[in-house]
């Protein structure tokens, strides 16, 4: 190859046919994405605890001289609202990022975090815990989050095992089919368990299946946090290989990507994040497909931009949805999955219709 010309300045400018110029520095674009979506997330996180169905005197709530036990405003802020806000941010972030990763892994923009059977596995396990173990606790904590996490990992393990049964690599077609089949199968089992449950348990499970951020304390968040962090580290690592995987496994391998390794990491990280999210809030739908698409429209297809953007926008989106869930029909709580469906569904349809 001929030697490169004298190195240009920090950012390269591309001359377009019509004479316009545009910076293509990825570092700069990444900074813009993080700042832009990060601002949205920060705004949501700061304003959400201030919104609610009751009036809270912020000054009184933050007054350190009033003992906590006597400070109702502080209790509303720190016990009733803040855990939910944090959970919403984590769950929204995890589901959106998982959506991006699974869409890249399956090379299908319609994939969701629940495509590979995670929702079904966790729902079945949670259902079993609710129906047959509703009085049991694990170290003082309800069984349901543990059960749902175990269920989701169990389901994806089955799917992964099926997909690896083929000789070469990880067949994404088998992944998809196995996931869809498992979803259907476990959903049928859920209905079966529901049949044996009494009316109260059934109502409780139906509510859980819609997704709710009613975490009530920081403990479930802290329990799920290690999984979120592990998934986040893996997401950071997998972002660039995802771009190449999107070209196809051969094209990626030819460019030096460890395709099987990358697929495994993608699979594992998305499963961890989604499993932890579902254990906190149940299977909240639409976040994992709406947010990735929105972000791609704004930043393009490079996963090094889409992943952080989706993580931040997902946090903002679900936090706002949760405010709606706890204020629209106060004092009753609307499952947050209804809000995401009602806002996300029509928006997504509009997206499909107006885009080329």
């Amino acid at each position: 190859m001929k030697p490169a010309p004298a190195a240009p300045a920090a950012s390269l400018e591309v001359a377009l046919a019509d004479g316009d110029t545009r910076h293509v520095s990825l570092g700069r674009r990444l900074a813009r994405v993080v700042v832009g979506f990060g601002a949205a997330a920060l705004l949501a996180l700061v304003l959400a605890p201030l919104a609610g169905s009751t009036r809270v005197d912020l000054l009184r709530a933050l007054d350190p001289t009033i003992p906590f036990a006597a400070n109702v405003d502080a209790q509303i802020l720190f016990v009733a609202r803040l855990p939910r806000t944090l959970a919403a941010a984590l769950v929204g972030s995890a589901l959106a990022a998982s959506g991006v990763v699974l869409q890249a892994l399956l090379r299908n923009p319609l994939a969701t975090p629940f495509t590979l059977g995670i929702a079904a596995g966790s729902s079945l396990a949670a259902m079993l815990a609710l129906t047959f173990g509703s009085a049991l606790t694990l170290g003082g904590l309800s069984l349901v989050p543990f059960a749902s996490f175990v269920g989701s990992i169990g389901a994806v393990s089955i799917v992964y095992g099926l997909a690896r049964a083929r000789r070469y690599g990880l067949s994404t077609d088998v992944l998809l089919l196995a996931g869809v089949t498992l979803n259907a199968f476990f959903s049928a089992l859920v209905l079966l368990v529901q049949y044996f449950a009494d009316a109260a348990e059934t109502l409780r499970t139906v509510r859980w299946l819609m997704g709710t951020l009613d975490v009530a304390s920081y403990v479930p968040i802290l329990t799920a946090l290690p999984f979120f962090l592990a998934a986040a580290a893996l997401f950071a690592w997998i972002a660039r290989p995802l771009n190449l995987l999107a070209l196809g496994p051969d094209a990626a391998a030819a460019r030096g990507v460890d395709v099987l390794g990358a697929q495994r990491v993608a699979f594992l990280s998305a499963s961890l994040a989604t499993g932890a999210a579902v254990s906190l809030a149940g299977p909240v739908g639409f976040v994992g497909i709406i947010v990735p698409h929105l972000v791609r429209i704004v930043v393009g297809a490079d996963h090094r931009l889409v992943l952080p953007g989706a993580a931040l926008l997902g946090a903002a989106f679900l936090t706002v949805c949760d405010v709606g869930a706890r204020t629209l029909f106060a004092p009753m709580e609307l499952p947050v999955g209804i809000i995401t469906a009602v806002t996300g569904g029509p928006f997504f349809l509009w997206l499909l219709v107006t885009r080329r």
Partner: protein, 297 residues
């Protein structure tokens, strides 16, 4: 998500079916006490109705009960025929009953029994006043109307006694919870301003903090509980061990600002009489009243 998409046609289908059966389902066949002999073989799918039947002296006529029946103790040796969602029609018919007490919402079951020429009494779940009409209705159907009237009178008398005891006392604001996740304050279901739980609470001298909600059950957020600031928190459970009761009471410690938690007036009450709208409702109100107004007893 495919279940959600299927919900709309399913709801429409249910609406059509409901209208159809409402138009064509047979009404309660009220037995004329003089003309017909009282039923000798009664099957009850409704635990509350079972208790009422035994309380009005029709116990010996009861030949089978639901899966959830536990009171009075005599029912433990009786065969079971399912419950609200899974009544076993074949079993019921095999027992050759002449009266079946079923839920009003079990329309298919009622229709099938009517076609099989079996008399049915349709039980409707409601508030406290509905319990009296249910007792009388069952009394008529089982041929024990005088006993039913006496039962109603005795329960009302007991309730009046309780009224007198707690008269004039300040009525505390109460959060009445009948369900939540074990070990945490997730998914709290409280009684709204309608239904027999609400009525029992009011008769026991309490004020329901969510009386303004015209619904039997409300899933409330923590924020609303904090805002409601109840003086007393009462949780009703069918059964729970003593250790579990203590553990569940301690869970409310997460909200130390509530007057109920501060003054230690958090109670988990267990016992089936608390959740079955039947003849033991006076016992339930009595227990509630003792918790709310200990000084009056």
């Amino acid at each position: 998500m495919s279940r959600r998409a299927a919900a709309i046609p399913a709801v429409l289908l249910l609406a059509v079916c409901w209208t159809w059966t409402a138009l064509f389902a047979a009404p309660n066949r009220i037995r004329d006490q003089g003309a017909d002999p009282p039923p000798a073989r009664i099957v009850s799918v409704v635990p509350a109705a079972t208790e009422i039947l035994f309380a009005i002296g029709a116990g010996p006529q009861v030949i089978a009960v639901s899966s959830y029946d536990h009171f009075p103790p005599e029912v433990e040796r009786l065969p079971r025929v399912g419950a609200l969602v899974d009544p076993d029609l074949e079993r019921i018919l095999a027992l050759e009953p002449d009266l079946v007490v079923a839920y009003a919402t079990q329309r298919e079951l009622v229709e099938q029994l009517t076609r099989a020429s079996v008399d049915t009494y349709r039980y409707a779940h409601g508030d406290l006043d509905d319990i009296w009409s249910t007792i009388r209705g069952l009394g008529r159907a089982a041929g024990r109307l005088p006993q039913a009237a006496r039962l109603v009178a005795s329960i009302e008398a007991r309730l009046d006694t309780i009224d007198r005891r707690i008269a004039g006392r300040q009525r505390p604001r109460v959060l009445l919870v009948f369900g939540r996740d074990a070990g945490s304050l997730r998914g709290v279901y409280a009684s709204g301003g309608y239904g027999f739980l609400h009525d029992m609470l009011e008769r026991a001298g309490g004020r329901n903090v969510f009386a303004r909600i015209d619904s039997e059950r409300v899933q409330v957020t923590l924020e609303e509980i904090l805002a409601a600031s109840p003086d007393v928190i009462i949780e009703l459970r069918a059964n729970l061990s003593a250790d579990a009761v203590e553990a569940e009471e301690e869970v409310w410690g997460a909200l130390p600002g509530l007057p109920a938690v501060r003054t230690g007036r958090v109670g988990v009450l267990t016992g089936e009489e608390l959740v079955v709208p039947g003849p033991r409702v006076a016992d339930a109100v009595d227990r509630l009243a003792r918790v709310l107004h200990p000084g009056a007893f």
